[in-house]
């Protein structure tokens, strides 16, 4: 086992423990739980069997295994940012509802 593999292993287990804890607190839905377990399990798997990523890379016509990791990493990040944007937008809209209600209450007081 190389040091890099050890580090990836430790970090992935740390992340997985967070996922489990969050799910137990009901902060993550079942769908999200499965998604994250899949992500970190794949990370561990690929760290120990790098050949797998090369196999998948060649399958879609990419030469190096590392490249497909980077591409899918970027794709994942985009997806997460979009979800964050949606969440933020929801918060903004809820915040506006609050500000609006306060403005109506204040208007009635006067």
């Amino acid at each position: 086992m190389t040091i890099l593999q050890l580090l990836i292993l430790i970090f992935s287990f740390f992340a997985l423990s967070r996922v489990i804890l969050r799910t137990r607190d009901k902060k993550l839905t079942l769908y999200e739980f499965i998604f994250w377990v899949f992500v970190w399990a794949s990370v561990i798997f690929i760290a120990f069997f790098p050949g797998v990523s090369t196999f998948f890379a060649n399958l879609v016509g990419i030469d190096r295994g590392v490249d497909i990791l980077i591409y899918s990493g970027i794709g994942l990040l985009f997806y997460l940012i979009f979800r964050l944007y949606v969440k933020l937008e929801e918060l903004e809209q809820e915040f506006t509802v609050l500000v609006r209600e306060i403005s109506f209450i204040k208007k009635k007081e006067k």
Partner: protein
Amino acid sequence: MKEQLLKKIHENKVGQALEKIPILKNKIVFLFSMTLIYIIIPAYEEENSIGKVIDDLKKHGYENIVVIDDGSTDSTFQIAKDKDISVIRHVVNRGQGAALETGIQYALTKDPDIVVTFDADGQFLAEDIKRLCEPIKNKRADVVLGSRFLGKAKNIPLIKKIVLKLGILVVYLLYDIKLTDSQNGFRAFSGYAASKIDIKSNGMEHAGEILHEIKSKKLKYMEVPVTVVYTDYSISKGQKSSKSIILGLKMILKKLMR
């Protein structure tokens, strides 16, 4: 005079009770042969123009006005307050879309026949309101959209013109609605349309959302020429053209989220 009377009836408890009876309401409106028009003015840091805008509206006979001061740090609120109109204040700046929705919800409690949205920066003319309301009075439309390109865009900067034309294209691609001016804040809604339309966007992307609502709620709409005046003041206060790229992206994202 008529308007004063109708307003009195509308504000009076007995009058309100009478208005609840549909036949009577029609009678009252018919008697004074007028429609209750509510003007909604979203305002953010407009102390230099808001007073004149309100005075001008009153001069043209529009007495039912609600200003939404959107967390301005200047004296916009106080100036509007001293004008004997309704003023609502957001404690935090939430954007023009949020302010419009607040104004519409407030106006709807007064059971208006027509709701008109009007800018606080003095770019619109009070005399255009009549033309905007006409199709609603005649039941030819639920929503009337002002168009500065059918009408006049006085002293419009070239870059602004280009941005607005691009906006028309984006709106056409996203919502399949062909307009001559898609980003114009000068609009009139029937009471019915105002109660149907729900603006969730806080910022300027509400322009697209309103069109989406018009389509999905199957409201009849039409465009009417209006004048939009560009002055050094309005340009310095107005939307920076550079921001329109982000605005366009936001409209696309909003569309994706639905």
